[in-house]
């Protein structure tokens, strides 16, 4: 199992404000000097991850104090130059919120070039509220996503003459990427899923499929992926086709690990702080999916504790651990928890680790990354494959 360090790069000083932190949170809450210091600090931590032999994952969000990386490719362009060996994962580019997919292809090519072929590319649908900020059309969202996907892959892998593209949603007279990416035909591709059915499309394509903070649902996501992969490719996917994202707090002392976990848990409190109307956006999800969600009820999508109860946003660190969203403890304990979770969900080869989250300080993050890289990563690298479980679809959606 490989580890990828990830931070949402929050502007946490503004979390003290009342009310929502996303979409309509005014920027006067941001002190730009402090924001710059924080951004540099998070980049330093990414560079440390590189030095420690960990890989790197970056995301983006917009109009939110929970994430200051407003362009995954801008952040990765910096890291392409600042780091030496880490694989650099964009997870992801919110493709259907981007108005110009050929520009996305250029960014991919440039970052891959700069990094000497270390880029990995995930295209994501993104959470509904992002479409309010991008103001792209919510309807036919995934139709646009897949056309942009096809166009970008055609552009980055093109070794022939330039081509024109007249699609349903995108139109270009010519396409020439200068530079073109180092990795051919294209950098490794990723997708994200939170249900078996959404994982299937990535299984079919053979892309690496990650699921975020989904706890036990990861099992059905991975099963959906494997089934579709086997159907399309006639063999079992290797575990490195699958990834799981969780918050990790590791320290030489158990009490210290839990103290840090409390600071990191603030991420879970802050992330859902936004007005109810932005939980879903009219036209963003298909009518049938909205109907199923409504009928299933509000708590259906919440992760489950090991006793079957619903994980509450303000639950304890132990609750988050029970639900599989946090791994917390000494290196031995964290290794054991991850190894057990790996067995429980049927095996995955990529741990997308929030090594910094919430209010966790720079010093604590440095120690957390160092402990994980020195004490846990070598053992995870040796983790033996788990025989995949025979699990049928059980997730909602």
């Amino acid at each position: 199992m490989k580890i990828w360090h990830f931070s949402e790069q929050a502007y946490h000083p503004a979390w003290k404000a009342e009310g929502g932190l996303r979409v309509t949170f005014p920027q006067y809450h941001c002190d730009p000097v402090e924001a710059g210091q924080l951004l540099n600090r998070y980049l330093d931590e990414y560079c440390l991850a590189d030095e420690l032999g960990l890989n790197i994952m970056v995301n983006e969000h917009h109009a939110t104090a929970t994430c200051m990386s407003t362009s995954v490719m801008t952040t990765l362009a910096i890291l392409a130059r600042e780091t030496k060996q880490a694989r650099l994962l964009a997870l992801g580019i919110p493709l259907a919120n981007r108005s110009n997919p050929l520009r996305v292809a250029e960014e991919i090519a440039m970052a891959d070039c700069l990094s000497g072929g270390r880029l990995e590319v995930g295209f994501v649908k993104g959470v509904p509220l992002e479409v309010v900020v991008s103001n792209r059309q919510p309807t036919k969202f995934m139709e646009r996503f897949w056309e942009a996907h096809d166009l970008i892959l055609a552009a980055v892998s093109n070794l022939g003459e330039t081509f024109a593209w007249e699609g349903e949603h995108f139109h270009y007279r010519t396409s020439a990427l200068w530079p073109r990416p180092v990795q051919q035909p294209h950098p490794p591709m990723w997708g994200t899923a939170s249900s078996a059915s959404s994982a299937r499309q990535y299984g079919k394509l053979g892309y690496t499929c990650a699921t975020f903070l989904s706890g036990a649902v990861a099992r059905s996501v991975f099963t959906g992926y494997r089934d579709a992969y086997i159907e399309a490719h006639n063999k079992l996917p290797s575990p490195d086709r699958l990834g799981y994202l969780a918050v990790v707090s590791c320290a030489s002392d158990r009490a210290e690990a839990f103290r840090r976990a409390e600071a990191m848990k603030e991420y879970f409190i802050a992330a859902p702080r936004f007005d109810a109307q932005f939980r879903n956006i009219m036209g963003f999800n298909p009518v049938e999916a909205n109907l199923r969600t409504l009928q299933a009820g509000a708590s259906a999508m919440r992760p489950r504790l090991s006793n079957g109860g619903t994980l509450q946003t303000n639950g304890s660190v132990e609750d988050y651990m029970s639900a599989g969203l946090m791994f917390v403890g000494t290196p031995d304990e964290v290794y054991q928890q991850i190894a057990q979770f790996n067995v429980d969900v049927g095996g995955f080869g990529n741990l997308l680790m929030m090594g910094q989250a919430g209010l966790l300080s720079h010093e604590d993050t440095v120690d957390n990354l160092t402990m994980m890289a020195r004490e846990v990563a070598p053992r995870l690298a040796e983790l033996s494959d788990v025989p995949p479980l025979e699990v049928r679809y059980e997730g909602v959606g």
Binding site: M282, G283, V287, N290, L291
Partner: protein, 269 residues
């Protein structure tokens, strides 16, 4: 899709009509001169009260817009401009030469899109709380953004009275499906530019039939400036204010609105 049973529309017949391969849900009721009624953002069922009043003196034809209710959405349709053509084709299918055309809110926009293309296809035009003209200019906004309001806030703002009918969570599956289809269609047609066709103002001069614009005096969805925009864009229209009515004047004051429409029709005939 199947046409649902809607108890609120038990005074007429709800079925569907095929318009060039697209199934359009159509409610018919009453006897008299033909009247085409185009519903607002609250769907066909949201107009039941005024349809009941209008059916006392008109032969009412009230479709669900494409993508709303049980109406299909043609694959290439994504603008109210497209909808204008569909309704002209529907008039042909129904054998309606020039009915009185009444549109409320979003439906008033659809009525304008239809009649700017073939102005002769209406004996008269009534626009109640119309949308469709530019709703904003840079930082100046004249129409509340339904996509930025919570469902509860929106339900409150649409009319003066307390919202009637079940909330989303209290609905039957059939009702839920209609509400969710309406959301999707509103997003398709009204997301951006918000609830308008920026070209409409330059086309409205083509409408030459007698016209009346009715505003709810207490419309909380619009800024008074928006009424002036409509007055300038359709200067020949009679303007009427309904006291005590909100944006859904057809729900707040159905009898009064129907009476105004009746009087207008008599004058227009």
């Amino acid at each position: 899709m199947e046409t649902a049973e809607l108890d609120c529309l038990n005074f007429g017949k709800l079925d569907s009509v095929e318009v060039l391969g697209t199934g359009i849900e159509l409610f018919r009721a009453g006897r008299g001169a033909p009247l085409l009624f185009l519903h607002g953002i609250d769907g066909l069922e949201g107009s039941a009260a005024v349809l009941s009043e209008l059916a006392k003196s008109f032969e009412v034809y009230a479709p669900s817009h494409p993508g709303f209710g049980a109406s299909e959405l043609p694959a290439g349709m994504d603008r109210v401009d497209d909808m204008g053509y569909l309704y002209l084709d529907m008039l042909g299918v129904l054998g309606l030469e020039a009915p009185l055309v009444v549109g409320t809110s979003f439906g008033a926009w659809a009525a304008c899109e239809m009649l700017t293309k073939e102005p002769a296809r209406a004996s008269g035009l009534v626009l109640a709380s119309p949308l469709g003209l530019k709703t904003a200019d840079r930082r100046e906004h004249w129409v509340a953004d339904i996509f930025m309001l919570s469902k509860q806030d929106l339900a409150q703002r649409l009319q003066v009275a307390e919202p009637e009918g079940p909330t989303l969570f209290e609905m039957s599956e059939g009702q839920m499906l209609r509400a969710l289809r309406a959301d999707e269609a509103l997003s398709l047609f009204g997301w951006t530019p918000y609830m308008c066709n920026p070209k409409l103002a330059d086309r409205l001069h083509r409408i030459t039939c007698p016209a009346m614009v009715v505003w709810g005096e207490k419309d909380a969805m619009i800024d008074p400036e928006y009424r002036l925009r409509w007055r300038d864009a359709l200067p020949q229209a009679r303007v009427s204010m309904l006291p005590g009515a909100g944006h859904r004047s057809h729900a707040d004051k159905p009898a009064e609105l129907a009476e105004q429409i009746g009087q207008f029709a008599t004058g227009a005939a």
